[in-house]
């Protein structure tokens, strides 16, 4: 049984990674799971300089999910390289660094700073965070802007780049095609859906930021649909995510066309979720005599 997958020339021992921002850089969850078992660790978004993020409340629960408006708080690329990448040196897993910024130059700065970092296998470009006011999301909601930033980053990046797409668009395939045309090596989707919750007793927004990104099991059908549509539209590999909590969920994404899968908010619900997903995929492969996991990618169409 072979669970290996390949994303842009990088071989993962299995398709399972984590949603950026739900797993830190692995430190906190290393108390619960053996990081060596993961296909890859995807780190919390990092910018060229430290970002303070949004005011609290930053998180709230909704039916079958949650909203967050962390606002990409991060300590900046210098601390990240010294601390987080150093921490990950001890582990035998691929590292996907999620990169955020407010301007093209911000992204370029981070990408260039990371170009010599041996511990970085892939870059995931976050152009779809709904919680940052200054521009970033615009790259993820307009095809021409997405094309522009993707082609610019391709000029500077040493590692393959994964463009992380926003689901808050009319046509996900238009965005996917633009990223592919601009040279993206892979896509990841979906980022969170923009949502809102109002506290009817206090008559206030539940989040200080008013809106937040929705994640959790509730959004899975939308994510599966977008992964499927995208898989029909482009040839580059897809890392599927959005509500994956179980192996069954992960397999659903793979059958829909995802090469890799990310466990996101489910880490908060069950810190062992990633391992359970990995083991459950293996169990499914045994049950149905699937020799290579790649045989399942896009098998339903």
């Amino acid at each position: 049984m072979n669970t290996q997958i390949n994303i842009a020339g990088v071989t993962f021992k299995n398709p399972v990674t984590v949603g950026s921002g739900t797993f830190g850089s692995g430190m906190e969850y290393s108390e619960f799971v053996n990081l060596n078992r993961l296909g890859a660790v995807t780190t919390k978004g990092v910018a060229n300089i430290p970002w303070p993020g949004n005011p609290t409340p930053r998180v709230t629960e909704v039916y079958g999910g949650m909203l967050n408006a962390i606002g990409l708080q991060n300590p900046g690329i210098d601390v990240f390289c010294e601390r987080d990448l150093k921490f990950l040196e001890d582990y035998d897993t691929k590292v996907i660094v999620n990169v955020c910024g407010k301007s093209v130059q911000d992204y370029v700065d981070v990408v260039e700073r990371l170009s010599d970092e041996k511990r970085v296998d892939l870059l995931e470009i976050n152009v779809s965070c709904p919680n940052v006011k200054e521009g970033a999301i615009a790259f993820g909601q307009k095809a021409d802007a997405l094309f522009g930033i993707t082609s610019e980053l391709k000029k500077h990046a040493k590692q393959p780049i994964i463009m992380k797409l926003s689901p808050n668009v009319t046509d996900i395939t238009e965005m996917a095609r633009a990223a592919e045309a601009a040279g993206a090596d892979a896509l990841s989707l979906i980022n969170t859906l923009t949502g809102m919750k109002i506290d009817i007793n206090r008559r206030t927004f539940a989040l200080a930021n008013k809106t937040g990104g929705m994640s959790g099991p509730a959004i899975k059908p939308i994510a599966v649909r977008m992964v499927y549509q995208t898989a029909q539209a482009v040839k580059i590999p897809i890392i599927g995510m959005g509500g994956i909590a179980t192996a069954e969920d992960a397999i659903e994404f793979i059958l829909a066309g995802a090469t890799g899968v990310s466990v996101g908010a489910a880490n908060f619900v069950d810190p062992y979720a990633t391992i359970k997903v990995i083991e459950g995929i293996e169990e499914y492969m045994r049950k149905y005599n699937v020799e290579n996991i790649t045989d399942l990618i896009g098998a339903v169409h």
Binding site: F32, P50, G53, V59, M66, P75, F268, V269
Partner: protein, 271 residues
């Protein structure tokens, strides 16, 4: 080591309107202490996140943790229905807790307001036990003097008898039905209480008043903060509080309440 595990309900009863008292049998008890909390998961899958609930009492001999909590929404409402023998998933033990050594030889006011009262019980108990240990070791001068100041809404003085086992208990109630009419600060004034240190948990306006009082009195106040949480283990950055100095984790003056706290020195945080 933190873990997610299955706990068994030993008992549960409503001790005041909307306030529940639950004992859980769980291996987590072995590492649990005053000021820490655990995440409790609702059996209903439409609510997915753990509810952070502060530890009211620990019984290590019985591997048991006592939680006294208020129904605040769907999740707590759901597990308030659990009865003896039911199981609940829990995550823990979480948070830093109170530093008991730092309180040795001091007069300590334990100030709890409303649903901030329960964690004061385990703290009072641990200080009381530390006192006994110090006495046995011949270090009676290092004992803490324990004054518990608790503020209730009305005459529903839950946990009062438990607290009285470990120290003097001074009461305030909003409606004046028991003790000083008003809040814990009114009780401190009315009783002319003095202390070398404060440990506190309660609503934000009370914590702000205590922070101010402690600064003016030149004494340390250790306050336990609350914020909406997702992961509870320091990964999601949902529950942060602004800190005075740049902290080593965030580098942007945002300490994580779930892991760097929930107990902070009041002077260190901007609330």
């Amino acid at each position: 080591m933190k873990k997610k595990t299955l706990a068994t309900v030993i008992s549960q009863k409503e001790i005041a309107p909307g306030i529940f008292d639950m004992w859980l049998k769980t291996e987590i008890a072995a590492e649990a202490g005053a000021g820490q909390f655990i995440g409790v998961f609702s059996p209903d899958k439409s609510t997915i996140l753990p509810r952070p609930i502060s530890i009211c009492e620990v019984d290590k001999a019985q591997s048991a943790i006592r939680l006294v909590y208020r129904i605040a929404g769907k999740g707590t409402a759901e597990f308030s229905k659990s009865v003896a023998g039911d199981t609940l998933e829990v995550l823990g033990v979480l948070g830093n807790g109170y530093d008991l050594e730092a309180l040795q030889g001091k007069t300590v006011m334990l100030m709890g307001g409303g649903i901030g009262i329960p964690p004061m019980l385990e703290l009072a108990k641990e200080l009381f036990m530390q006192n006994e240990k110090l006495t046995a070791e011949g270090k009676a001068e290092c004992k803490s003097e324990i004054i518990v100041v608790v503020g209730y809404r009305d005459a529903q003085t839950f946990l009062k008898e438990d607290l009285e086992k470990y120290g003097r208990v001074v009461i305030a109630s909003e409606d004046g039905s028991v003790g000083t009419k008003g809040n814990v600060m009114n009780a401190v004034a009315e009783e002319g209480l003095k202390a070398d240190a404060i440990c506190s948990c309660g609503p934000m306006p009370m914590l702000r008043a205590i922070k101010k009082y402690a600064e003016e009195a030149g004494i340390p106040a250790f306050i336990s903060l609350e914020e909406h949480m997702a992961c509870g283990v320091g990964a999601c950055l949902g529950c942060v509080v602004k800190t005075k100095e740049i902290d080593h984790h965030s580098h942007v003056n945002n300490a994580r309440i779930c892991t760097d706290g929930p107990v902070f020195l009041a002077a260190d945080v901007e609330i």
